[in-house]
């Protein structure tokens, strides 16, 4: 049977195109022995459910964000300002880093193997109202931002001077439109263009967090695979990751451009401002999340990637 791959973006999105190329390569390399069915746009459920479905073997593969419900240590990659620029992102999240090894271990406990990482973007803030003092994290801006139901984002919004308001995603668009909240945090230019471009008047590329998705496969499915096929799959996955690292930065710039073309104003953020925001987030968010994950486990990993 064809391997079922779930992912979180609509058909035709960059990630969808990239995955189709990957699937095609594997199918060719294995002489048609490995074939894939793609299920875009969360058709098999949102990433939290799909991760569990992979774990029990009901779905074979997925390319998606990290769901932390089963093991809160998986939050480690979601710490804000863990990486501040592209070279540091690659160092923190790339193959062979201590953080990557930790993630692979945690996934393995759920019988899930990480085939590749897919760097997506640096996060930013989408606003429907003019920004207030974006460079000064200590300035109380009086702006409410919709935060996703993820603890680090909720703490992040408050640590850099916004009022973080948890709201369900399905109500977020209308909430920005009517003014229940003034903007959104937790995604990047690509995500805002896809879901919020009609209500994004300003985009602040604050590099709030580095979004990484992982290409996951059920451990049993992988183990039962013919050795040669498995090698081809892993080889294609490695290529998939390498080419994405090469393309991600330009892709992000492209999405910022698309947001601007849709009428948003890009508000530049200086290096000093970024550093100040990062300082606040690290001081206020990190201790809390690290405590949740277990100081003894998390601290050495965080220290080793941020040195």
């Amino acid at each position: 049977a064809n391997l079922k791959i779930s992912h979180v973006r609509p058909q035709g999105a960059q990630v969808d195109k990239d995955l189709r190329v990957f699937a095609e390569q594997v199918t060719q390399a294995t002489g048609g022995k490995l074939k894939f069915d793609l299920f875009p746009a969360n058709a098999l459920g949102d990433y939290t459910v799909v991760q569990e479905r992979i774990s029990v073997g009901a779905v074979d593969m997925a390319l998606q964000p990290v769901a932390t419900g089963v093991n809160k240590r998986l939050q480690i990659g979601a710490l804000p300002y863990l990486a501040t620029d592209w070279p540091s992102a690659k160092r923190v999240f790339g193959k062979g880093s201590p953080l990557r090894a930790a993630m692979e271990d945690l996934y393995a406990k759920q019988d899930i193997t990480v085939l590749a990482a897919y760097p997506v973007y640096f996060g930013g803030i989408s606003l429907n109202k003019p920004p207030v003092n974006p460079g000064d994290p200590d300035a109380k801006k009086g702006l409410k931002l919709r935060v996703p139901p993820i603890k680090s984002f909720q703490l992040l919004a408050d640590s850099i001077g916004y009022i973080g308001s948890p709201l369900p995603f399905s109500e977020a668009f209308t909430a920005v439109q009517t003014g229940v909240v003034d903007g959104v945090i937790g995604s990047g230019a690509e995500g805002y263009y896809a879901s919020f471009r009609d209500v994004t008047k300003y985009y602040l590329p604050m590099n709030t967090h580095f979004e990484v998705w992982y290409l996951l496969i059920n451990g049993e499915v992988l183990n039962d695979m013919d050795k040669a096929d498995r090698a081809k799959l892993e080889e294609a996955a490695a290529t998939f990751e390498t080419s994405r690292w090469a393309a991600a930065e330009a892709d992000q710039a492209g999405n910022e451009k698309k947001l601007q073309d849709a009428g948003a104003q890009l508000v530049p953020v200086s290096a000093e401002a970024l550093a100040a925001n990062a300082r606040n987030a690290r001081a206020q968010v990190w201790p809390e999340i690290i405590k949740d994950m277990g100081e003894a486990w998390a601290r050495p990993i965080v220290d080793s990637v941020t040195k």
Binding site: V56, G69, V70, G142, P149, K151
Partner: protein
């Protein structure tokens, strides 16, 4: 007694949900310090409300049905037979679903997933599926027994009156 219990529990769950939502409006709009984790806590009473509401529908024998065939049957006896048939089938299906509810119960107990910000175990709502389906199965058995008894005691000669009436 049972009716009273369901009245209190269902009303209580609904009011809790309403109260939590209203609190969020006040904390966000008036106080400007929205409470973290309130929406994830809402899910627990909500899911229990859905499940227990459905259990009560089974108890009251008021699950939604579209018994098209019933309309065409002439005699009370035929209707009773149809009701028994439908209940036997229902029992088979709900028992099978309950088995899978049990499977989900054990799974949820094993992985012990937690909510994203307050780390409350989702088992506390997940277990509702199995418990609810089990109760629905039991009430289906009860209503099947009731209908079989009525059918056994049914006097076919009464049908003429039903039809004329």
């Amino acid at each position: 007694m049972m009716d009273r219990l369901f009245k209190i529990v269902l009303t209580g769950l609904l009011l809790i949900v309403a109260f939590f939502q209203a609190v969020q409006v006040v904390t966000r709009y008036v106080l400007e310090i929205p409470m973290m984790g309130l929406e994830e806590m809402l899910i627990y009473p909500t899911l229990w409300l859905y499940v227990l509401g459905s259990v009560n529908a089974s108890r009251e024998d008021s699950q939604i049905r579209a018994n098209v065939l019933d309309v065409f049957l002439k005699t009370q006896r035929a209707r009773l037979k149809l009701a028994v048939t439908a209940e036997v089938i229902s029992l088979g299906i709900v028992a099978w679903l309950t088995w899978w509810g049990w499977d989900f119960f054990r799974y949820s107990l094993r992985v012990w997933k937690e909510s994203p910000t307050l780390y409350v175990p989702t088992f506390y709502s997940d277990c509702a599926v199995f418990i609810g389906l089990l109760l629905m199965t039991l009430w289906t058995v009860k209503s099947l027994i009731k209908h079989v008894r009525v059918l056994a005691a049914h006097n076919p000669s009464l049908d003429a009156e039903v039809n004329n009436g």
